[in-house]
């Protein structure tokens, strides 16, 4: 399989009054074409910053790039000029956000907003762009598509707006779709509709997808592979089934166990003690050590590397898993 997107040592820092802090501290992962990679983590782990860094949309946020490479089909996005980047963004690389209302212009009709990127990137004339836009709206399951073209964003429901966003994102046949919490603001029955739609579109168009979410349920249903983030780092990477069946990193284990699952029937939930560390007060060694049940002396002093452990395509950033690996034993 060829790698569609390769992120190497990506670093993003936040400007703060008392000195800059690392929001994303050296991220490595890749996405194969036609595959859905889940980027999972709790709020503040840097997953949204990662997506903005890849899209080079950090302007207007406190963040700025501080190194690394983002190779999209071999070319490094971080080295492109603003003009070259604009040609990639929206055409080959598209993005949808949690709250569609913030990325739709409230004073422009839906039709105009979808047509614009089509005309820009595909060079269609007005009539053809309109035809294509209506087609896209139909594709994402919007009833009365040609009427919706004349509506303003506020006239649509949350689910409809997210469909419009998806139609916009898909209109230029992107090779990679970055979806940042695309269903978090939606009700469950609407979420089911949107996830279903995204799955269908991804299969029809064999498009790669980076799905950013905090919801392990969504991950389990949508993703092929998963990258778990904690405190701006990747702590674990694994194919989805193996991640859930046999999580390696203590953080992933805790995360999976602390989510109440339908029909699971446990008396008590397990939980991870404590809180996510503050970016400006990071622990010295492993960033998860203060909350970890298996903490060892070396965890407090030295941060482990993200190394291959226990099986094909699996990585973990943990002294414990790496030790048991060396001993030749299987995973914890």
């Amino acid at each position: 399989m060829n790698k569609l997107l390769e992120v190497e040592g990506l670093k993003t820092e936040f400007k703060r009054a008392g000195g800059n802090v690392m929001a994303v501290a050296g991220l490595d992962f890749h996405i194969n074409s036609g595959e859905v990679l889940g980027l999972v983590g709790e709020s503040g782990c840097g997953k949204s910053v990662t997506s903005l860094s890849i899209m080079r949309l950090l302007k207007g946020t406190p963040g700025q790039n501080a190194g690394g490479h983002v190779k999209f089909e071999g070319k490094d996005l971080l080295r492109l000029s603003e003009n070259e980047m604009r040609k990639v963004r929206g055409k080959e690389l598209a993005m949808i956000f949690q709250e569609p209302m913030t990325s739709l212009n409230p004073v422009l009709r839906i039709g105009k907003q979808i047509e614009e990127p089509i005309r820009l990137h595909l060079g269609f004339n007005k009539a053809k762009a309109r035809e294509h836009a209506v087609h896209m709206l139909q594709l994402v399951g919007i009833p009365r598509a040609s009427e919706v073209m004349n509506d303003y964003p506020h006239q649509l429901s949350g689910g409809m707006r997210q469909r419009v966003m998806i139609a916009m994102a898909m209109s230029c046949h992107p090779k990679l779709l970055i979806a940042d919490e695309p269903t978090t603001a939606l009700d469950v029955t609407i979420q089911a509709q949107i996830l279903d739609l995204m799955k269908r579109l991804k299969e029809e168009r064999s498009m790669g997808m980076l799905l950013i979410t905090h919801d392990l349920g969504v991950v389990a249903e949508m993703c092929d592979r998963v990258v778990v983030m904690y405190a701006g780092r990747v702590v674990e990477e694994a194919p989805v089934k193996e991640l859930f069946a046999n999580p390696q990193h203590p953080y992933t284990q805790g995360l999976i166990r602390s989510v109440p699952k339908l029909r699971q029937k446990v008396k008590r939930l397990e939980s991870i003690p404590g809180n996510v560390p503050d970016l400006s007060h990071m622990p010295q060694g492993c960033k998860f050590a203060p909350r970890c049940a298996h903490v060892m002396p070396e965890c407090m002093t030295t941060e482990p590397e993200l190394l291959a452990v226990g099986g094909e395509g699996r990585k973990s950033r943990c002294w414990l898993t790496q030790q048991s690996e060396q001993k030749g034993g299987s995973a914890v």
């Binding site: 996830l195 989805v240 109440p260 339908l262 996510v276």
Partner: protein
């Protein structure tokens, strides 16, 4: 069941949303004729999607809002029409925990004053006694007594929710109405707070009215559950019954829509068509008929009754109404 702690009968609440032209007023029927009861020591959950009226119901039960119609009984007393002054001693018995732990704590007050505020209102304890109780309460909810001198903004979301719970607990209420208490929290923190709520229930014999949109959380914490759709209860049942064998088509769809954190599981999923209708202009007949996969002709015109189809199990659906179904077959 002995006397229920809470009994709600035919509760209805409308809000004026639009003073239309020419005196045409538009009303939003947030809650439309719902009935349920909660036994002592029980956890009853209201679950539903946004705009289904579950939060309004919570505020009607605690009488932050007064219903247009229907009755609320607390501990055998009808509290529907009580004045603020008459309600005050009852409020000592029913405290609330709110969804947003950032907004529900006054940013200008110290934690000890936040936690002790109900004590100040309902008891004659001195400042010193209140401070002492507040630090004890902080320990009970898993914080430290030295946190008492700080302000809420110095705490994380989960810790703030613990402060909110300590505050609700301070006057030893019998009922706690928890409105989405964990939905603003990260998953790893969510389970801490859910466990705390369960422990406190055991320890103090609390009764919970738990309001949530998250079906997994609701299954974990509840004894009985009411499912709401567009202002009405469509089904009430014990947790086991509801999750094993949902009766109402909406409950079935809702349960099948929840993404499950287990990739080895493959399920048949019911995907509902269309959007939630507006509660200002709800569909005629059964409110769910516009999206229902098993909609019949009668559903479009006639609203279903909320029938007790099995002991302690109510459903509002024509499919389970023998009169209607036998009429159809005839």
């Amino acid at each position: 069941m002995s006397t229920p702690l809470i009994e709600v009968k035919g509760l209805q609440k409308s809000f004026l949303v639009n003073k239309g032209w020419f005196g045409k007023h538009k009303y939003l029927r947030a809650v439309d004729g719902i009935s349920f009861s909660i036994g002592k020591g029980e956890t009853f959950s209201l679950v539903g999607e946004s705009g289904c009226g579950k939060s309004t119901t919570g505020r009607l039960v605690t009488r932050l809002l007064t219903p247009n119609e229907g009755e609320v009984w607390f501990n055998g007393q009808n509290i529907t029409q009580l004045s603020d002054n008459q309600m005050r001693p009852i409020r000592k018995e029913m405290q609330m925990v709110f969804q947003d732990p950032y907004a529900s704590l006054n940013p200008r007050m110290k934690v000890k004053d936040l936690v002790a505020e109900p004590l100040l209102i309902h008891t004659k304890l001195s400042q010193g006694e209140r401070d002492k109780l507040a630090s004890e309460l902080l320990e009970v909810v898993g914080l430290n007594s030295f946190h008492a001198e700080r302000y809420a903004h110095e705490f994380s979301g989960g810790q703030r929710q613990r402060i909110g719970i300590a505050r609700a607990l301070s006057v030893r209420p019998s009922l706690i109405v928890a409105d989405e208490p964990v939905s603003a929290l990260d998953v790893s923190i969510q389970s801490q707070v859910l466990n705390l709520l369960q422990d406190l229930q055991e320890e103090y014999g609390l009764t919970y009215l738990f309001i949530s949109h998250d079906l997994s959380v609701v299954e974990h914490i509840s004894d009985r559950i009411g499912v709401m759709y567009l202002g009405a209860l469509v089904e009430t049942a014990s947790k086991e019954e509801l999750y094993e064998r949902p009766l109402h088509p909406y409950t079935q769809a809702l349960l099948s829509s929840v993404p499950v954190a287990d990739p080895s599981l493959t399920r048949e999923r019911i995907i509902l068509k269309g959007d939630l209708p507006s509660p200002v202009d709800p569909p005629t007949g059964c409110r769910f008929h516009t999206r229902c996969p098993s909609c019949m002709e009668v559903c479009k015109t006639k609203a279903p009754k909320f029938l007790e189809v099995e002991p302690d199990r109510h459903v509002a659906c024509h499919l389970y109404d023998e009169e209607i179904m036998s009429g159809r077959q005839a």
